[in-house]
Point group: C2
Chain length 695, copies 2
Amino acid sequence: MLPRGRARALGAAALLLLLLDPGSVPCAPTPCVSPGGRPRGAAAVDGDPPAHRGGHSRSDCVPPRPPLPKCELLHVAVVCAGHNSSRDLVTLVKSVLFYRKNPLHFHLVTDATARNILEMLFHTWMVPAVRVSFYDAEELKPQISWIPNKHYSGLYGLMKLVLPGVLPPDLARVIVLDTDVTFASDIAELWALFAHFSDEQVIGLVENQSDWYLGNLWRNHRPWPALGRGFNTGVILLWLDRLRQAGWEQMWKLTAGQELLTLPSTSLADQDIFNAVIKEHPGLVQPLPCVWNVQLSDHTLAERCYSEAADLKVIHWNSPKKLRVKNKHVAYFRNLYLTFLEYDGNLLRRELFGCPSPPPSGAKQLQQALAHLDEEDACFEFRQQQLMVHRVHVTFLPHVPPPGRPHDVTLVAQLSMDRLQMLEALCRHWPGPMSLALYLTDAEAQQFLRFVEASAVLSARQDVAYHVVYREGPLYPVNQLRNVALAQALTPYVFLSDIDFLPAFSLYDYLRASIEQLQLGSEQKAALVVPAFETLHYRFSFPSSKAELLALLDSGALYTFRFHEWPRGHAATDYVRWRQARTPYRVQWAADYEPYVVVPRDCPRYDPRFVGFGWNKVAHIVELDAQEYELLVLPEAFTIHLPHAPSLDISRFRSSPTYRDCLQALKDEFHQDLSRRYGAAALKYLTALQQPRGA
Amino acid sequence: MLPRGRARALGAAALLLLLLDPGSVPCAPTPCVSPGGRPRGAAAVDGDPPAHRGGHSRSDCVPPRPPLPKCELLHVAVVCAGHNSSRDLVTLVKSVLFYRKNPLHFHLVTDATARNILEMLFHTWMVPAVRVSFYDAEELKPQISWIPNKHYSGLYGLMKLVLPGVLPPDLARVIVLDTDVTFASDIAELWALFAHFSDEQVIGLVENQSDWYLGNLWRNHRPWPALGRGFNTGVILLWLDRLRQAGWEQMWKLTAGQELLTLPSTSLADQDIFNAVIKEHPGLVQPLPCVWNVQLSDHTLAERCYSEAADLKVIHWNSPKKLRVKNKHVAYFRNLYLTFLEYDGNLLRRELFGCPSPPPSGAKQLQQALAHLDEEDACFEFRQQQLMVHRVHVTFLPHVPPPGRPHDVTLVAQLSMDRLQMLEALCRHWPGPMSLALYLTDAEAQQFLRFVEASAVLSARQDVAYHVVYREGPLYPVNQLRNVALAQALTPYVFLSDIDFLPAFSLYDYLRASIEQLQLGSEQKAALVVPAFETLHYRFSFPSSKAELLALLDSGALYTFRFHEWPRGHAATDYVRWRQARTPYRVQWAADYEPYVVVPRDCPRYDPRFVGFGWNKVAHIVELDAQEYELLVLPEAFTIHLPHAPSLDISRFRSSPTYRDCLQALKDEFHQDLSRRYGAAALKYLTALQQPRGA
C-alpha cells in the first residue's frame, strides 16, 4: 500500500500544486471560454493582473457554467448544538437568505437545546421557500463516540462523518456548512460547482489555509495525515449517493481506526478524518476555489487567496477568537459579518420571484386573516398587530433549566431595551429562576448580548432565561410577550410580574413556603396576590421587612401602587387589612383589579388582543376569576415599583388619538368572548365594566 | 420634417416593440453567446421559461459582456436639493456602496442645504475610493428657469438637462440617478452597458413603466411627445462627450421651446424634455433592460418586467407616496429599501481589494494616530474613542435658520435615543432656536425621524436643528457631540445645556434681555450662569416664577442640583445669594464647578478627550475661566433637572473598572495642556485639582 500510496500522494501533490494555487480557478477538461467570448490564450484584457506563476493566466480561463435549473431546490446541512452555536446559525442563515434566489431545505443536526430554539425560530420566522428538517444529534453519538477528540467542538465536531447515513436516502447532494460561516454571495453558485465533479469525485472542499497539516508548527506536532495542506471542512459539497455507493461509512471508520492506533485523538475533529481518508483516496476530492471558504484563523494564509481575487464568496471564522483574529483585512470581514449579525431578519420574509412554493405553515391563514382586515378601520393597527406572528428566539443566552426543586416559582416578565438596567437589580432581589421576554430588533439583541456579557451579576446567573421576540409593527404586543415568557417557564409555579417592580428580598423563599403550605394547585385553586407598592423617589432605600415597608408607607416615602392616579388597580387587595394580616386572606374580584399574582404554570394565557397599553393585565385577572381561581393575599409578600420615564412605546401609544376608542372596542370584544365561554357568570364583569368610571 | 419624423417614429416604434418588451434583453449586433457556450437558437435549458411572444427566446441570448477594466473609476451624478432629498441620497449611496467593487466619483448638483449636509457627511464618512464633487444648483437656475414645470421637483427637476455643460469637460461618461433609487446590484454592471451603445447612441434609458406618455389617462390629458411609452429618466447612462459633440444644448432648448408653444409647462420635469428630444431623434437612445429601473409608482406596469426576471437591479420609488404605493410585490421592494435605510453606514468604510486608491482626506493621519496607540494601555478605549471621527449628518430634518433677531440665543445640547421624550417638553419650555446633537445608529435615526413626524409639537418647530452623529466605539463621545451642536448654532449666543434640564418658561426672553443689557460679547467678556436645580419627584409641577421656585425649594420638593451627591458641582453659584439677588452678580471659579452658561457662540470648544462621563463640563468651565470669561449669575434665570434612570451608556461606563483611573489620567493631561497654553495662570487649576476631595 505504501509505494502506491506515496506515488498517489505525489501525484496528488502535483495536482494540488496546480489546482490549489489559491489564485487559480480549476479548469474542467471541456474547452474553456473566457467571459468575453475570447478563446483561451488570447491577450489579457486591460487591467488584468499578470499571469500567476502557477502557469495559468487566471483571467482568460473560466469553465462554462451551465446555469442551474430555475428554482432548483438546494439542500444545506449544518451540525448545531447549544445556545451559542444556535445564534451563530441564525447569522449564517440570514447571510444565505439575503443573496439566495432558490428554494432551500436546511437539514439541521441538533441537540435538544438547539432544536428547541431553532424549531421555534423557523416556525415563527415563516420565510417563504425555506424548509427545515431536524435530526437528533443524541442518536448519532454512538456512531462516533469511540473517537477521542481534543477539539472544543467535542462529539458534535465529528458528526459530519455520519451525514450520508443520517440524511434521507433519497437526498443525492448537500452543501455542509459550519455555523461560523458567513455568505457574501448566492449559494446557488456554490451548488453549481457540483457540475464540475468528475465521475469519481464525491466531495468538494477548499484547501486548508494554514500550515497545520504540514506538521511543522511545533516540536512533536503530529497532525493527522493529509494531502499537502489538506482541506478545510467548514464548507463541503457532499455527493451523498455516490458516497453511499462508495461505501463511505466503512471507508472512514477503517481509516480512523487505523490512525488511532498511532495517534491519541483527533485535534481538528472530523476534519482530521476527512483528510486522512482523502490522503488514501485522492481521487475522491474535487478541490473548490478558495473564495468559497476564506478561513480567518490566526495562522491563516487566506491572504494568498483574496489579495488577487476581488470576489470573496464565503467567510469562515474558524478560530475561537472569532472577530479578534489578527488579520490584515479583518475590518472588511468583520463588517460583512456585522452586517448580517444585526440585519433585520423580518426583511428576509420575502417571496422568491418566479419560484412559486407552498407557503410556510401558518402563513396562508395569516395572510387571509390580514387580508380580511378593513384598512379604513380606525383600529386597523390594533387588529393587525394582534395577528402578527413575531419571530421568537427562546433562550437567547446560555440557560440551565432549574433542577426541579419542589414548589419552585419562576418570575415572569417582559421588557425592551430601555429597561435593561432593571435586570441587575432584579437579579439581586430574586435568587430564583426567571423567564423574561425581550422585545428587540436584531441590532438591539446584539447590544443586549454584550450588556449581559459585560455584567458580572447577570453572567453569573444561569437560571434566568432570556427570550428575544423580534420587533415588528407599530404597537407594543405586551400580552404576546408575556405569553412567550409564560410558556417558557419550567417550574410548576409562576410569579407574574412587571419589569419595573423589585420584589422583597425574601419573596422567593416566602412564595415557595406559601405554595407548600397552601398546597397551591393540587388542593387549592388560587392566585396568590403579592401586594404592590411604589416609590416616587428617585433614590430609595429598599425595605428589608414588612415592618420597614410599613414605616416608609406611613412616612410617605412609599405609596400603594398608583395611589394617586388609579387606585382601583389594586384597591381590592385591601391594604388596610394587609397591614395587620398574619395569615393569607381572601379578597373578591373588583372592576379594573390587576394585582401581581402567583399561579400554577398551567394558568390561562394573557389575551393577545390587548396590544399597546391599557387593560392587558385586567383582562387576565378577569379570566382567572371566571375560572374560579380564589384571590388570596399573602401577608408577608410585597413588591415595589420604581419610577421611570415613560418608554418611547408608551409615549407613542398615548399620543395616538385612536387608542382610547380602540381600547374600548377591544374590551367589548373581550366581554363578548367571555359571555360565549362562561355564560351567565360573565355578566358580573360586564356589569362592572358599564359602571361609570371614578376619577 | 413631419413625414420623415413619422417614418422615423414608426421605425422607432417597431424597434421599441422588439426591444422594449419588458422581458427581453436587447442583443447587440455582435454574435450572441449563451451563458453555457451554446450558440443562439439552441435548445432552451431545462427550466427556462417559454419563449416570449416578442419572438426572442430570452434565455438563449445574452450579448457577450467584455469585463470592465479592473478598478475602472465610475462616475455618478445626482441632483439633490433640500433636507429630505439629502436623506434619500444617503440611502441611495449606501446601496451603491454595498455592492460596488470599483472606485466611485459622485458628482452632486446641490443647493446650499444639501451641500452643507453632504459635504460634512462625506468628509466624516471617509469611505475609501469614493470621491465627491459639488456643483452649485443656484448657478444653473438661469439656464432652465424659463421652463414652466408643474412637477413637485420644481427647478431642480430640470437640471439633468444641463449636466453635459456643468460636469467637467474631460468627463466622458456618467450614470445619472434620481435620489429615490435603490441599488440591488453592482453598479459596474450598469456602467458596462455603455459598451452596447452604437456609435450614434448617446443616452441609455429604460422604458417608462406607465401609460403616462400614451396620453389617455384622462380627458384632455396632453403629455409631452414621446416614443410609445417613452423613457424614464430616473436612471440614465449619459455619454457626455458625444452629447456635447452632437450639440445637445441646442437640441433640447430648441425642442423644449417648440413644445412650449403649444403646451403650458412640463408635467414630469426634465423627463418630458428628454422624451420630446428622443422622439425627434430616436437614434440617440440605447434602450436599457427594464431591470435597471424598476419603477414603483401607482400606475406602474413594472410587473411586466420582473414577473419573469428574477434579477432586479435597481428599484425606483418614483411616486410621492413612496413606500405606500399599492403594488403586488411592494413588500419585497420595501424590504430592500429598508435594508439600506437602516444599514450601518460605518460598515461601508471598507477598502476595495486590489484597487489601491489614495486614502480619503484625514484618513491617513487618523490611521497613523490609531496605530500609535498602545493596545495594552488600560485606557486604550478612551484614547481610541477620542481619535474616532464620527460620521455626521447635520440638519437631519427640515430646518429654517433663525431670522437674525438681535441678541438671539440657541439652546445647545446632546442626547441619544433614551431621551427622546424630553424633546417635546423642551420645546414647550424654550420657544427659541435649538441645536441638538443626537448619538444614534442608522436604524435609530429612522426611528427618531418617525418620532418627530408623529409629534405635533416637534413637527411644528422649524427652528430646532437635529444633527445626527452616528454611533461608533464603546464610549460615549459626549464632548464631541456638544461640539457638533455648538458648531452648528447660528445665533450670536448659545445656552450650553443638558438634555435632562427644563429651562424656566421665561428663560429665552430673559436671556436675550440680559444679553442686551449686559452687552455680552462686545463690552463684556462673560459667561452668564443659569442656576441649576433638581427635583427628585417623578411627578412635578414646574414653577412659573422665581418666587414659586423658592417656595418649592423651601418645602423640599426641589433641591439645588446634585445637592446630595456632589454639591461642589454648583456650590460656587452661591444659591443663598441668588435667592435675594435682583441684579447679576459675579462669582469666582472653584474646583469642579460646572454651571450651565450662556456665552457668545465663538467660545472655546469642549475638550474631546473627555469621553464617557465625568469632568466633561468642568474642563470647559476651566477653559472659560482661563480665558478670563467673567462668571455672572443671573438673578431671574433657572433650569431644573428631571429624574431619569441612568442611561445604558452611563451604566456601562460606571461598571468599567478602569474608568476612574483613566479619567484621572485625562485630567492630568488636560492640566498639562493648560500649563502649556496659559503658563503660570494655569497653576490655580492644578492646585485646586490636588486638593483632597470632600465627600
